[in-house]
């Protein structure tokens, strides 16, 4: 990534951005930003690389939605000392390979992540999400929610890496996968690479079909089975829907999110 020449865009305040190619974005020291970011790769044939740097004491709430076809893209977010990131991300991509990395480079840096991916028809979504602790007293919590429909397949590696000497770091991974079709497949691996003793690290992974008892509960109040399934699927994207305050951004992504969850 460092070999690529980027435009540099400063992020601040409440903003909605659209980008179509590789970019570098940053939040200056001690500044706060609440950003809705649409990455539109439909006209791109090359891979895209998005680099975001949070300087020390910077705070960023980032809602990132990517639209593409057979693109691959890489996301790297670097956090300096005491920087804070709340990341909500979803990708409307088919047959792609995505790599997302959060590097906690400064002491006291903290990242909370919510990622949603879905696949349908005969598509295949492959991805890797890494949270790397390169400093002491860093914290990373990730919730990863995947939905596989029809004959599609989702393959994800979720990796938390705590390097040697990075004492008092905390890392957690929570993976939830919902399979809707008989031939749907989710292969999600929670991986912890811990090279330090004095840390807290945890992971959990639950993949399965819809809970029949949840469906029954909803139907017992008058919903049809289809309506119950839709409400359960829609619940997967609730954090994303609530995160962004940009009406324009929500108007663009809502139809895509609806398609991602429809049975």
């Amino acid at each position: 990534m460092t070999d690529i020449a980027y435009r540099r865009i400063e992020l601040f305040g409440d903003q909605y951005y659209i980008i179509n190619s590789s970019e570098e974005l940053y939040v200056t020291n001690s500044h706060e930003a609440n950003i809705s970011l649409l990455v539109d790769l439909r006209e791109q044939s090359e891979d895209a690389n998005i680099l975001i740097n949070l300087r020390s004491d910077a705070k960023l709430k980032l809602i990132l939605f990517t639209i593409g076809n057979n693109n691959s893209y890489n996301l790297e977010i670097n956090l300096d000392e005491n920087a804070h990131l709340d990341l909500y991300t979803a990708d409307y991509l088919s047959n792609t390979n995505t790599n997302k990395t959060i590097n906690l480079n400064g002491e006291g840096a903290e990242a909370n992540t919510y990622e949603f991916s879905s696949s349908s028809k005969d598509n295949s979504v492959i991805g890797k999400f890494m949270m790397v602790h390169n400093a002491k007293n860093t914290t990373a919590h990730g919730k990863f929610v995947y939905l596989s429909k029809d004959n599609s397949k989702i393959t994800k590696d979720i990796i938390s890496k705590i390097n040697k000497g990075m004492d008092n770091s905390v890392s957690s991974e929570d993976i939830r996968g919902l399979i809707l079709g008989e031939k749907s497949n989710i292969n999600a691996k929670p991986i912890l690479i811990i090279d330090c003793d004095d840390v807290h690290a945890s992971h959990g992974c639950a993949i399965g079909t819809v809970d029949d008892n949840e469906v029954y509960y909803l139907m017992s109040r008058g919903l049809t089975k289809d309506e119950a399934m839709k409400i359960i699927s829609k619940s997967l994207i609730t954090p994303l829907l609530k995160a962004s305050t940009s009406i324009d951004f929500n108007n663009v992504i809502n139809p895509y999110l609806e398609k991602m969850i429809e049975a």
Partner: protein, 266 residues
């Protein structure tokens, strides 16, 4: 209102209910009592069409319509409500959105959907009446709720849906003394307002002090063995179910096994 005739219900290949005959009339409150494992919850789930419970024989009729094979959502829209013993959590779905969606399935008298404003006013009042936290409407359905909050949330849904028949499966379990009174007052208010029929399942005397049953039926080993008035509750509270079992000629399975083992040892 509800008529059950010769109902036999099985689950996982085991016959749980054996030939149940029960009628619940309009505006009638029926207390369903019995020892643990007698089939009380099975009966409530069978009335509410749970797919895990198979009706082997018999019929269930509601307001003259045979609902024996009716899908569960249609039974709900017909006016039956089940307040579950163990309500399920639905993560990511707020109480407000969920209740609005199910209320909208029931048009008002003029055939229209209730306005958002009227719905919000009614929901906020119902939450106040149940002494629930104000933020409850915006929390996910039953997620991270205490046991008592889950039970109150069932009654909240009942108040918003205004059913003709409510089945309350151990609604008082998990509620403190004050909460039982509050929940009972809310149930009685709805009963009085809409002439709602009730089937209440509870082991405890205090709920029946607040919601007076018109009829008490006792279920033991899947069969209805005794019917009486509310004095039967005091009797059971004092003497337990053993006298009723003896009267019905039901031998305790544990005692039977012990007897067989003793005879074998001889």
């Amino acid at each position: 209102m509800l008529e059950i005739k010769d109902l036999w219900v099985s689950a996982s290949g085991n016959m749980i209910l054996k030939g149940i005959n029960l009628t619940i009339n309009d505006n009638e409150t029926v207390a369903l009592m019995g020892p643990n494992g007698s089939g009380k919850s099975t009966l409530s789930y069978a009335i509410m069409g749970h797919p895990q419970y198979k009706i082997e024989k018999g019929t269930i009729t509601f307001n003259g319509i045979d609902i024996t094979n009716m899908p569960v959502n249609e039974r709900s829209l017909a006016g039956i409500f089940l307040a579950m013993q163990y309500p399920y959590s639905i993560s990511g779905v707020t109480n407000r959105d969920f209740i609005k969606q199910v209320v909208d399935k029931r048009p008002t008298k003029d055939g229209k959907v209730q306005s958002i404003y009227k719905f919000a006013v009614k929901l906020d009042k119902a939450i106040d009446d149940l002494h629930m936290e104000k933020d409850l409407a915006d929390r996910y359905v039953n997620e991270d709720f205490s046991g008592g909050e889950k039970k109150k949330n069932e009654i909240l849904q009942m108040k918003m849906l205004e059913p003709k028949l409510s089945i309350l499966d151990e609604i008082d379990s998990g509620l403190d003394v004050d909460a039982v009174k509050i929940v009972s007052d809310n149930i009685n208010e709805l009963k009085e307002k809409n002439a709602m029929s009730l089937m209440i399942i509870s082991h405890y005397h205090r709920l029946y002090e607040y919601i007076k049953p018109d009829k008490v039926v006792v279920l033991i080993n899947g069969s209805l063995v005794k019917t009486g008035d509310s004095s039967l509750i005091d009797y059971i509270d004092k003497y337990g179910f053993d006298p009723i079992k003896k009267e019905a000629g039901i031998e305790d399975e544990v005692e039977l096994l012990e007897e067989c083992a003793f005879k074998g040892a001889k």
